[in-house]
């Protein structure tokens, strides 16, 4: 055969053939073969639906984390105004972790969108091949002797089978990626489930498990910077707009209004 002798094509072709062997049985009748193709198409649709579900779950998590970021920022400002630096730092650590997770979720959602698009394209191609097979099998049944029809339909079925196998590989990759994302998000999800991003008043004395994990997950330099910035802003008289519940520890020295 003219063409590649390299390993890459051989490896991928072997993968596809392996799926193909499972997909095609020479003993199957034409109509059964077609019926099976249509079933495969349903599986692809289900695979796409699974990716969409995973994406929606991540989007819901994003929107809840976004609310947490706003809330924690407010709490940190209130704590700074009230002179409670430890509390402010704790809030900012949580905010930092939530923001980092938000960025990661953005990337993951984009990746799933990409997977969804690719699977949708694949599904359309597979549908076209199956439709071509349906037409072809009727033509072959009408025009050829049984023996000849067998050969021709087997060629056509292999063509469809390759497309199915290719979609199968794409679905497998999508599933792998989704599972990989789930594993990465687990640590933060546990923190979220424990109410870490919600209830600062639940902070007990000393270091508990959650605080240790937060320290590991958050970027301390970023937290330091933000705390310093917040202190200077609030010290400069911005306290009234930052947090209206707790009064500033010192009256603003100048009447700046924002």
């Amino acid at each position: 055969m003219a063409g590649l002798t390299g390993r890459m094509s051989t490896v991928v072709k072997a993968k596809v053939s392996k799926l193909l062997d499972r997909a095609e049985d020479p003993a199957e009748t034409l109509d059964y073969s077609y019926q099976k193709q249509v079933e495969q198409l349903q599986n692809v649709k289900k695979g796409i639906a699974d990716v969409v579900t995973a994406k929606k779950r991540l989007q819901m998590q994003e929107s809840s984390l976004q609310q947490s970021v706003v809330k924690l920022d407010t709490q940190a400002r209130q704590a700074v105004s009230g002179g409670q630096e430890d509390l402010a730092r704790a809030a900012l650590e949580r905010k930092n972790v939530a923001q980092t997770e938000l960025q990661s979720l953005d990337t993951q959602v984009a990746e799933l969108e990409d997977q969804q698009q690719k699977l949708t394209d694949s599904e359309q191609k597979l549908r076209a091949k199956i439709e071509a097979f349906r037409t072809k099998k009727e033509v072959i049944k009408a025009q050829y002797s049984a023996a000849e029809a067998q050969v021709r339909i087997s060629e056509a079925a292999t063509g469809v089978g390759e497309q199915m196998a290719d979609v199968g590989l794409a679905m497998q990759r999508a599933v792998d990626k989704t599972e990989n994302m789930r594993a990465r998000a687990d640590a933060v999800q546990e923190l979220e489930a424990a109410g870490t991003f919600d209830d600062l008043t639940a902070l007990g004395p000393g270091e508990d498990d959650i605080d240790r994990q937060l320290k590991q997950l958050s970027s301390q330099p970023a937290v330091d910077d933000e705390l310093a910035k917040m202190k200077s802003e609030i010290g400069a008289g911005d306290a009234a707009s930052a947090g209206q519940i707790s009064p500033p520890s010192q009256p603003p020295s100048e009447g700046q209004q924002t």
Binding site: A2, L4, K15, K129, A132, D166
Partner: protein, 92 residues
């Protein structure tokens, strides 16, 4: 010859293109075997671009099997390394 880019399309290429395609593929495999990711994306994109530009897409109602099947365009270096070196060959 018909070359499929996995997750994309089938392309019909002249048999005469096989030699150049072989070179491009060897370059990719060489990068993977070097164990360093440097140059992998470029080498891989060069090979797929060659197929896309030299080849003609096979009409979607044609039921032809491919002579060669290449991995998807978004294959990562890690995936390629698992596929083309060591025990990555279709473990069974």
């Amino acid at each position: 010859m018909i070359v499929r880019i996995s997750g994309e399309d089938q392309y019909e290429l002249a048999d005469a293109d096989a030699a150049r395609l072989n070179e491009l593929e060897s370059a990719v495999v060489a990068v993977v075997e070097s164990g360093s990711e440097d140059g992998f994306a470029d080498a891989y994109a060069a090979m797929l671009d060659f197929v896309r530009t030299q080849g003609t897409p096979v009409p979607e109602d044609e039921l032809e099997s491919s002579d060669h099947i290449l991995p998807p365009a978004d294959i990562t270096f890690a995936e390629a390394a698992a596929d083309f070196t060591g025990e990555g060959l279709i473990p069974d």
